[in-house]
Symmetry: C2
Subunit: 160 residues, 2 copies
DNA sequence: TATAAATGGACAGATAGTCTGTCTAAATAA
DNA sequence: TTATTTAGACAGACTATCTGTCCATTTATA
């Protein structure tokens, strides 16, 4: 079930797939799978763009600027997502007790439900992938990607 | 040079990073790097969206429907990209000799230049990553991702 | 303490890149 | 020969992003 089809393979014969395309394909597969199933689970109004908020919101609530900074988008864009999810009933916005300018974005009960479901489905999709390539390779894949992410992070903020 | 900064790390403490996020981070890094440098190389008007066309166009030229099918977008969306790149001088559109309804999208000289440069920069970005994690791990990463892609492809089009 | 600077967010407007729906012309099948 | 399918064009809509400007509040400074 949840038959996610797959884009065409090779462009120019004799050209090796770029690392980017090797990363992109499974990523897009996972995203399609997770958001497809999310819809089937009763959250059809949650779209991939919303993940910029859902990924970074904290249980105590988060301010728009913080969410924007973590998601690497402008605060206006994040405000748009907040407004959208607020209208859909997934978040509420309350005044920040510590800062009169600020507001806190908080998950509603439904928001928490979608958050949990997203984690659940992501995990399930990963298990599915692990079945395809084997648990050992999945562990290795995770380890290497984790290393790479960390190395890029330090490279990005650190040395020239 | 080309200091690409990196989004925040963890959401909820005690939550493992999803496979999706592990794939996404390096992918977005690569994309930012490649398109940033592409701009510096004299192609500032090429945007990531154009890659849907550039990735799949063939040297003999390709029809819009074929490009759309490979890129997994509607033909209208692909037509928009074709029109855009045509206006920018990267592709030309000629009538298909074998089919009076169809047209062939072909890379201009400048289009071929950008194509070559994209491959070059992608390769360079991969080498950069390989330096960070080591050549062995990069080879392993490639192997596993290739397996995964292929497995997902056959799963997607094949068994339920 | 009074004022200047920085910060969190709101509002307005623009744009890119995607979609659906409808249409024509040409090719293919019945 | 007629019906169906296919390639693409056109119109319209919408999502998710951006820039620019503004206000209110907080923080730093003179």
């Amino acid at each position: 079930m949840s038959n996610v089809s797959f884009p065409g393979a090779q462009t120019i014969p004799g050209t090796k797939a770029t690392l980017g395309s090797l990363l992109r394909r499974p990523y897009e597969y996972l995203q399609a799978k997770v958001y497809g199933e999310l819809s089937a689970r009763g959250f059809p109004d949650i779209r991939p763009a919303h993940s910029s908020l859902l990924r970074y919101i904290r249980p105590e609530g988060s301010r728009v600027v913080d969410l924007a900074e973590r998601a690497q988008i402008t605060k206006q864009s994040m405000a748009y997502l907040v407004g959208d999810l607020e209208g859909l009933g997934y978040v509420t916005v309350v005044p920040d007790p510590d800062d009169g300018r600020a507001k806190r974005v908080m998950l509603t009960t439904r928001g928490q439900a979608v958050w949990t479901t997203l984690i659940e489905l992501s995990l399930a999709a990963e298990v599915n992938c692990a079945e395809l390539i084997g648990a050992d390779d999945m562990a290795t894949l995770r380890r290497i990607l984790q290393n790479l992410s960390q190395a890029l992070e330090t490279q990005g903020s650190g040395a020239s």
